[in-house]
Structures are given as C-alpha cells and as structure tokens.
C-alpha cells in the first residue's frame, strides 16, 4: 500500500502546486483594499454604460471595480449582507427602505431615463398612443394579450408591479401574464419572439432594438420615470466593506466629468442619449 500512497500523494501534490501556481499568478493578484464590489442592475451593464465609465474611474483612482450585474432587488440584498461596497440601482421605493433600515448611506441621484411599454406592431390590445401607463395595462389585461414580466425583483419588475397595483386588477396567475425571470435584454427577446407586451427601460431597449421587432407603444407618462441612485453600503454595519472605495466611486458617479460622459453616451451609436445626468438636482424637479 505504501506505493499506492506515494502515487496518491504525488497526484495530490500536483493538484496543490497547480492551485498555488494560479493563486500566485498576476491574474488574481488584485490588491486587496483596492477592489470595490459594485452591485448594479442589468440595464447599466447591458446598455454598455459601465464599460464606458469604469475604465475612466479605474485609471484616475487606481481602484479595481468588480461589477456584479444583477437585478436591483438582488443588488440591495447583497448590500444588506455586506457583500457589496456600493450600489447603482433604480428602484426608488426599495432604496428608501434600504437606507432607512440603515443598510446604506449617502444615497445620491445620478441620472434618469424612462420606461416604455413595448409590444408587437400589430398591437392586439390597441394601446398605441395611450397617454397613461395604467390605462394601457388595463387594456392589455382586458384583451388578454400576452404580457411578459421580468419577475426577478429588479427595479423594472418593481415598477411594473407598482403600475399593475395601480390598475387594481388581479394580474398574477393569469395565462396572459408570464414571468421570464431573466434580465432586461433577454426578456425583450422573449417578448419579441412571443409577440407579447413588456415594459423596459429605454436604455436597454435602444441598445438591443436592432434585433427586435418591438415598437414603443406608450411613453412619456410621469409614472414611467426611471431614476438611478448610487448608494454606499453602511460600513458601520459591515466592517469589511471598502468604505473609502465606495465613496470614491459614488463621488465619481456624480462628478461633473462623469455626468458629461453620461450625457453623451449612446448618441453616436444609437442616435439618442440613453441616460440624462441629474447629479445634484432636487429629485422633485423630476416629478418624484
């Protein structure tokens, strides 16, 4: 048995050498307090905005940002557990609660765009041109037209639930109401394939629309405003949080230079800006 043990030992040793070699390799040698975990929504990543902003931030500060793009709901859950340092999210009601409960500090307005109700060009529920988002949803329900919900506790899902609630209708459990449980881009694809209605943020829609057959049917209602805030996770709750890094990132998001980048982002590629910078503005002026 001794020799068998020897082989086992050498193979195991090989495995550990492999691990050690990798741990020591530069790829994982990111400096410790120099990394920031940013939990954010799928829309900021899928629209390509972060790909534009992060290199600028990393270059000027030396921090390395680990972006985890999930729904706003999950992003805040990560914040609650101290598994993220800073959040960039768009779910105002949940954010207020998050800060009130002491999980986050320094919530600051960054930018906005708007949500739009999309659907197939044939528009079976005849909602095109409808001014009120609420009325549009009522029509969709009345026509039993397929509606695709994100169903993932994201900011978009939160808004959509709020709108449905306002209609006073029982929407869940209906055959025409389906939840994808996917990100915005994928939910748009599903809606396009199934010729259903859905609600999306304009940023993601503009950046993926070339492959879709969905039309904007309802827009411009005040209830469709989509507002992004940056929140630092409260370091007094979780000592392991990189508070300095979080503050640096939050400051960066509302800085003049960054706001200028946000303002022009997407103009060249999509023909229209995807986000409107709002740093320093009173939220009330946006209609909140």
């Amino acid at each position: 048995m001794k020799h068998l043990n020897k082989i086992v030992f050498s193979l195991t040793a090989l495995a550990f050498v492999a691990i050690a070699a990798f741990v020591a390799s530069p790829a994982s040698a990111a400096p410790k307090m120099k990394t920031i975990i940013l939990a954010t929504t799928t829309s900021t990543q899928d629209s390509g905005l972060l790909d534009e902003l992060l290199p600028v931030f990393e270059k000027s500060t030396g921090y390395f940002v680990k972006t985890i793009s999930v729904g706003s709901g999950q992003a805040m859950k990560m914040g609650e557990k101290g598994e993220a340092d800073v959040l960039l999210v768009h779910s105002p009601d949940a954010e207020k609660k998050f800060v009130e409960q002491g999980f986050g500090v320094n919530r600051r307005l960054v930018m906005h765009n708007d949500f739009i109700i999309l659907g197939p060009a044939s528009d079976p529920a005849k909602i095109k041109g409808e001014k009120s988002a609420k009325e549009a949803l009522k029509k969709i329900a009345a026509a039993n037209a397929l509606f695709l919900s994100r169903g993932d506790n994201s900011g978009t899902h939160a808004l959509e639930k709020k709108l449905w609630k306002a209609t006073g209708l029982k929407y869940e459990g209906n055959k025409w109401y389906q939840q994808t449980g996917l990100g915005m881009g994928q939910t748009l694809s599903v809606a396009a394939e199934k010729k259903g209605y859905t609600i999306a943020d304009r940023g993601t829609y503009l950046s993926v629309k070339k492959n879709l057959g969905l039309d904007i049917l309802v827009e411009g209602d005040a209830s469709l405003l989509n507002i992004y805030h940056v929140i630092e996770v409260n370091p007094s709750k979780w000592p392991k949080v990189n508070a300095a890094g979080a503050k640096a990132f939050a400051d960066f998001m509302v800085a003049k230079k960054t706001q200028a980048i946000i303002k022009t982002f997407g103009v060249k590629k999509f023909g229209a800006a995807l986000f409107f910078p709002d740093a320093g503005k009173d939220p009330k002026t946006l209609g909140l």
Partner: protein, 232 residues
Amino acid sequence: MDLILEGLITAFKLLMALDPEVLSITWLSLKVSGIATLISVGIGISCGMIVALTRFPGKKFVVSVVNTGMGLPPVVVGLFVTVFLWRNGPFGFLDILYTPTAIIIAQAVIATPIVMGISIAALQNLPAKMRLQILSLGATRMQMVMILVKEARLPLMAAVMAGFGGVISEVGASIMVGGNIKGYSRVLTTATVMETGKGEFATAFALSIILLLLVFIVNYLFTLIQQRERPR
C-alpha cells in the same frame, strides 16, 4: 439563417483580427478550466484508484455517492461556493469571491466526481486476476499500479476529457462565483450569456463557435495521447 451566417462571419472576423479581448477571454477559459481539470485529475484519479483497488466496508455506498456527484448541477455548486466564499461567510477571509480562483474551485468541485467515477469504473473493469499475475511476476506494488494505469489508459483519458468537457462548457457556477467581470473573470460561456442578454446574437454566436473550436482542439490533443500506439 441570417443570424447563423452573421455569427460565422463575426466569429471569423474576431479570430482573424486577433481581437485582444476575445483572445484574453479564450485564454482565461482555457486556463481556468485547464487548472480545474488538472486538480480534479489529481484528486479524482488518486482517490478513484484507492476506492477501486482496495476493499473496505461501505465501498458500494462511496461509489454511489461519487456516481451521484457526476451529475452535480453547476448552479448548485456555484451557490454553495458563493455562500462559503462570501466576505462574511466561513472562508470570507480568503477574499477570493468574484475572482478566477473562485471559478477554478467551483469547476474543480464539479469535475472531480466525474473524473473519479470514470476512473473507478475503468480500474475495476480490469480483470481481477491481472493484479495477482503482475505481482507473481515479481513486480513491486508501485509497478503494479503503474501497469494497471497503463492498461486502463483509454478509459482514464476519457475521464480527463469528460472532466474538462464538463467544466469548460459550464456557465452556472462561473457566473455566480466569478461575476463575469470584464477583463478579469469573464470566460467564454459567461460572455456568451451576457452577449445574448444584450441582444448581440452575432457576437454570442461567434463566442460559441470559438468555444466549440477550443474544446475540439483540446480534445483532439487528448485523443492523440489516448490513441497512441501502445508501447510494448
């Protein structure tokens, strides 16, 4: 049809242009899954050897646990590894969540039972009397084990290929523990999911083709080793 054609063209263009981002993603995929496979081969074949060549009570139970492990869903592994590696979790002090190292750990956990299960089957498949025969010809135990491994070379190489195939194609765990961070922990599969989410189907298609090519090349090399003429 357009999409498939466009995807092929994009893949070709990305490959021809040696797009640095695509190259680094491909290289990271190969590196991460390669190391994970190496670890799983180290642990899987050695433990498999012990289980296959020794007798102990509860052996059938151990083997069935390993065989169940061959079907470990990557997302389940991803979830467990994430919870363990959380900053405020039991291994939080390591500070390796959302790094390529975390992906390697998750993938090694996925591949080890695969390699081990097939190794056990491969070694048990050898005629039982062969061991006695080898020993009676005067071989030491070490030599005997080496001969057995050589005899079982074909299925053992299949074990390595199955392990590698299982992890290079896996996305659930990689995205959970790696975070799909640009230029850092983004691998081919997670990039494909992301590009699909963005609606960039042509790019997603191109990445898939590159992934398939990579898997083919690696398996071709493995197969060359496997099918080599037996040294007599």
